[in-house]
């Protein structure tokens, strides 16, 4: 199996891994978004809690969670490895910063944007997992006769705080820019470039990078503005 190691340790192989994990994460974001949109259903979080309960008890989802975590980790480690080797390729910088035209301004900032997303992810995962490992959930509900944490109320309470709303909205902006270049770039790295469908890839990429982060950002905004609450009330979690 040394050919696999040889392939993925080359410069093109490392890019290939960025592309494959990137497309995997792009698909994941859509799944993640559809679940999150249940928060806006206006049913005091019943649908969202049922969805969360289903996710928790499905062995297929549990397995996907491991793959998802691996996907994120590979994308990050590979990205950092590329960043290090790319920096090594130019030990002496230019006195005048490069003025060459690029396809878009984001392409030169994928690493920094990726680092911002990493910070967001760490806080995001802490907020999600703290009630599993560290803190007793403020309220519970009953699903199928089982007492479970009222996750919807936790989310609703979190987004009554304007700071968190702003943090999530700004983070989604950064995710959007990262995707704006990442989407089309992933296809180019896979060698999928042809005048027949390049326009389609670019178009879908732009639409995706605007619509998906915007939909994610709308959730905290609407919760804050429309004062959406769960059965646990708006003070839960604080």
């Amino acid at each position: 199996m040394s050919w696999i190691k040889n392939t993925f340790s080359s410069s093109i192989g490392k890019k290939l891994l960025m592309s494959i994990t990137g497309i995997f994460l792009i698909v994941f974001l859509v799944v993640h978004l559809t679940g999150n949109l249940l928060l806006l259903k206006g049913d005091e979080g019943v649908a969202f809690n049922a969805y969360a309960h289903f996710m928790k008890h499905n062995p297929l989802i549990a397995a996907s969670e491991v793959i998802l975590f691996a996907g994120f980790l590979l994308h990050m480690i590979d990205g950092i490895m590329l960043w290090v080797s790319n920096r090594k390729a130019r030990p002496q910088k230019y006195a005048v910063p490069n003025k060459s035209k690029t396809r878009n301004w984001v392409s030169k900032l994928m690493g920094p944007f990726g680092m911002v997303i990493l910070v967001f992810l760490i806080l995001h995962l802490y907020q999600f997992f703290r009630f599993k490992f560290f803190v007793e959930p403020p309220s519970h509900i009953e699903i199928d006769g089982e007492k479970v944490a009222d996750l919807a109320s936790i989310v609703y309470a979190q987004f009554k705080d304007l700071t968190w709303v702003l943090f999530y909205v700004v983070s989604m902006g950064v995710v959007g820019f990262h995707l704006y270049h990442g989407f089309a770039s992933a296809f180019q790295t896979l060698g999928l470039s042809h005048s027949k469908y390049n326009k389609l890839i670019n178009g879908v990429g732009i639409a995706y990078s605007v619509i998906v982060p915007l939909a994610f950002a709308l959730i905290p905004i609407l919760i804050k503005v429309m004062c959406i609450c769960g059965p646990g009330g708006c003070t839960a979690g604080h």
């Binding site: 050919w3 040889n6 392939t7 080359s10 410069s11 093109i12 192989g13 490392k14 890019k15 290939l16 590329l82 080797s85 790319n86 090594k88 390729a89 130019r90 030990p91 002496q92 910088k93 230019y94 006195a95 005048v96 910063p97 490069n98 003025k99 060459s100 035209k101 690029t102 396809r103 392409s107 030169k108 994928m110 270049h181 089309a184 770039s185 180019q188 790295t189 896979l190 060698g191 999928l192 470039s193």
Partner: protein, 251 residues
């Protein structure tokens, strides 16, 4: 016109090097950039100073020798132009022009603005060729029909002069546009198919060994290439590399 030149001076490959400032008071807008450099060197020689070393050969935009990073752009502000084909009419009176060598770990500075680009030669030697039987009954290349579209694309790729502007422009000092052009010009033609798998794998391995970076698809290389080599070639390089990795018996 009057110009202030800020030129990278470095005694040899081991010296540290720094930017030195020079004044030129009588530059004609009809001069080529290299003629302006010649005037600077004549001035330096008459003052008993060491002239600025820079690479040049044909001065017709075809040999790929000239290599100057001018005001933040390889080959200067004009597009589709080598430094030798750049003219002083692209600048105006009173301008300050920074002139630096290509910066890449794989292109070490030999002296002043001269860099060693033999890493490109080694990449070429790793696979940028086809093997042809020359025993006396060599087949006419035109005997094998080639679709017009493929021939055109192969020719476009073959116009790469190996100057290294792509490496100089890339934020990662990546040589992928160069390698992709050299791989594409053969991959598109029937004569190149025979060694296609070995070629792409050997050339990419050599490219990595030389210390060039990877591609972030910024497109800076394509924008600066004096021959307009398209990013489409990098996609083809990736495609060839993936296919070779999956199907080759050798690697």
């Amino acid at each position: 016109m009057k110009l202030t030149l800020k030129v990278w001076r470095q005694k040899d490959s081991k010296a540290k090097g720094q930017i030195e400032s020079y004044q030129l008071d009588d530059v004609s807008s009809h001069m080529s950039f290299l003629e302006m450099m010649d005037v600077l060197n004549e001035k330096l020689i008459s003052e008993g100073k060491e002239p600025v070393a820079f690479d040049h050969d044909c001065r017709e935009g075809i040999c790929g020798m000239c290599s100057m990073y001018i005001n933040g752009q390889p080959h200067g502000p004009d597009s589709g132009t080598t430094t030798c084909q750049l003219h002083m009419r692209s600048f105006k009176d009173g301008d300050t022009i920074y002139i630096e060598p290509w910066r890449s770990a794989a292109f070490p500075v030999v002296k002043d603005l001269v860099v060693d680009r033999s890493s490109f030669e080694r990449i070429q030697q790793a696979g940028g060729f086809i093997s042809v039987n020359t025993s006396g009954n060599t087949q006419d290349a035109n005997a094998i029909p080639v679709p017009k579209a493929d021939a055109d694309k192969a020719f476009d790729a073959a116009t790469c002069i190996g100057c290294g502007a792509c490496v100089a422009a890339c934020k990662n000092a990546s040589a992928m546009l160069f390698v992709s052009a050299k791989v594409s010009q053969f991959a598109l033609l029937p004569q190149g198919k025979i060694e296609a798998k070995d070629r792409v794998q050997n050339m990419v391995a050599q490219m990595d060994k030389e210390g060039f970076g990877a591609c972030t698809n910024t497109g800076a290389c394509e924008a600066e290439c004096p021959k307009g080599i398209s990013l489409e070639n990098i996609a083809r390089l990736n495609r060839e590399y993936i296919a070779a990795s999956l199907t080759s018996d050798e690697h």
